[in-house]
Symmetry: C2
Subunit: 373 residues, 2 copies
DNA sequence: TTGTAAGCGTTATCAA
DNA sequence: TTGATAACGCTTACAA
């Protein structure tokens, strides 16, 4: 029924050694004579041996499996995080078992149980349906990324700092009024660092500001777009002649705001500044590359594996040590592009000598007729 | 050293049954009395049993592991494909071991060997560094997606049909001249269906056309952007007064062309039509949602698993059957948006009563002064 | 319906 | 430096 595989027993028979010696050839070759190594090596080739890690795992207890649980993979942030995790292969040799939970509690729990049954050595979790208290009880090292992390280790972007950076940049580029725009906050455990950092700076500098939260289900692009468009129109209407700085909670939102502005004005208007959050490709590839607070996903991934690996190693010792929980924080980086420059006009792609059509508005004043309905 | 785990032996001792009966409780519960099921169930809870799939795998030979090898995950297409694969969990229960090969032969081979050592039951491969002939020799079911597939099963988008659809749409919306734009073709095995379908229609309808291939390394966004911009400027210069229909080999390219056009004109120009390929989010979320030939990634993923599963099941039979290789083809769908409509003017977001600035060009004629250098 | 016993292919322990 | 033997935790004939 099974493909007949070559096992240590076969090699042993072929070479006259015991299975133990064959095992040692792989795990501690130095304990063999060079000659014998040669002999075994030849036998391996002759018989075309292929290692069987499942058997090894069963015997040793070390799977080198890491469970990776994300809400989804169609969002760039999560896919990029997985990408960065996989990149670590050469360093740790961990294999990743990937699951999408869609933030549904039952899915998440099922998958986690599944992971445990595969004896994963650790879990990286980005979805947030299950409280960290429960995760901690699994008896497996767990590192959280951007989620509630009371009872487990975690690595997070310094959102507060990000909010500070964003507001500061908007302030520096001469904005009179600042706006924080976010979608609905469904996750109650979600921290409000971005908003709070923003507010801190506004308060500190004495800049008038508003916090605008859309309540539209953000799974629908068009609806969300329309909601944000309305917000922006409203802002334009209420603050004529002022320079308005908008900080969006993420790049997707920022992209929508940008799109709306450019579609309305035919260019990026003088009297607006815009900054997003995440540093996702859309910020660079948008019609006008826009400023953003870049999350260092590579650093986060690296750090998370560091923390996880530390715990795994401690656990694998003969006398398992218990490592204290760690909460790491990664500072985001300001990515300063056209939408937050003093002269905020969108320059055309290089190669053009003269302006196209409608590239300048008439002096930072927007046309009220734009703001219908 | 190891966390003491509860095993069948423990349950057996607790309940007075044999290990076999416990095993049966999980794999064929119907063969037990309801009473005894109850008894075992209670014991499981009492001892807090957790199944160990590694042991099961070793004993049964069935891992339920599928190897998934992609060039990368930062491109939306690949991430989305993985997403769709993971979605199949409820249907097949396969667990995916994910690797990024960056299309490097040595990486790819290492990872494949690794997958084999974990006794994966099958492999889905999208990267193309290793010839299918070698893959076929591994003795494990393999399904290729969008790559050379001479010796293995595969599922592909009907690229030829896609090219036909694209050219037909451009023809229908009144274009005088058609252009196929693509980046460098590094992969020699890559089929030219999109281009060929395009050419077929152009020839059939007697429309003048050009095939334009950039030779700029497409890993650099800016460079690629500039290269395509130049192409477009050149087209505009050479075909004044004509309606020019551009078909880009993928949405990323189309997005660049669109961006360039909108940046140059302040809006999407009358005398251009544009269609991309892939149906990626950028086509919908771009400043002007553009037309595209949508790949049905969900269908492709589903079909691939179907084919793979068929082979796996055949192989798992007592007398393994050999299933012939299958080459499936999935027809793409035309996604018709503003950039290929007769009146191709970009309408502003709803809610605006009057036009903004520079939303109309003066009659399909472009300004030559735009085309500097 | 249940039990016995022999694996599955390694690693770990102890002894030689 | 090497080997015999017992795990590892489950599945699977075959027997009862």
């Amino acid at each position: 029924m099974r493909k007949q595989k070559v096992t240590f027993a076969d090699i042993a028979k072929e070479t006259g050694f015991s299975k133990t010696t064959i095992s040692r050839y792989f795990n501690a070759p130095d304990t063999l004579t060079t000659e014998n190594q040669e002999i075994i090596c030849r036998a391996l080739e002759k018989l075309n041996y292929r290692e069987n890690k499942v058997a090894r795992i069963l015997a040793s207890g070390h799977t080198e499996f890491i469970g990776f649980v994300v809400p989804n993979l169609y969002m760039h942030y999560y896919a990029e995080m997985l990408h960065q995790m996989l990149t670590s292969y050469s360093k740790y040799g961990y294999k990743f078992l990937v699951f999408e939970s869609y933030d549904k509690e039952d899915y998440e729990r099922t998958y986690l149980q599944d992971l445990l049954s595969y004896n994963v050595e650790g879990i990286i979790i980005l979805s947030h349906a299950i409280p960290s208290r429960e995760l901690a009880s699994y008896g497996v090292p767990v590192v959280a990324i951007e989620r509630e992390d009371h009872y487990i280790s975690s690595v997070n972007t310094d959102n507060l700092m990000g909010g500070v950076q964003a507001a500061s940049l908007l302030y520096k580029c001469g904005c009179d009024d600042l706006f924080f725009i976010d979608g609905p906050i469904l996750d109650l455990a979600r921290p409000h660092g971005r908003r709070d950092g923003f507010i801190n700076i506004c308060t500190e500098k004495g800049i008038p500001f508003e916090v605008l939260i859309s309540d539209v289900d953000n799974s629908d692009y068009k609806e969300t777009y329309n909601a944000f468009s309305k917000m922006v129109d409203d802002i334009a209407l209420r603050y004529p002649g002022k320079k308005k700085g908008i900080f969006c909670a993420n790049d997707t939102y920022a992209s929508m705001v940008l799109t709306h502005l450019v579609r309305s004005y035919g260019h990026f208007p003088d009297d607006f500044s815009l900054i997003g959050f995440d540093g996702s490709p859309v910020s660079e590839n948008a019609i006008i590359p826009f400023s953003t607070i870049g999350q260092q996903i590579n650093v986060i991934a690296e750090r998370a594996l560091e923390v996880l690996n530390e715990q795994i190693e401690a656990r694998n010792k003969r006398i398992p040590e218990s490592v204290p929980i760690r909460h790491e924080v990664v500072t985001p980086v300001v990515i300063n592009r056209e939408t937050t420059s003093q002269s905020v006009l969108a320059e055309p792609a290089s190669g053009y000598k003269t302006g196209g059509i409608g590239r300048r508005s008439k002096g930072g004043k927007i046309n009220n007729s734009l703001l219908g309905t």
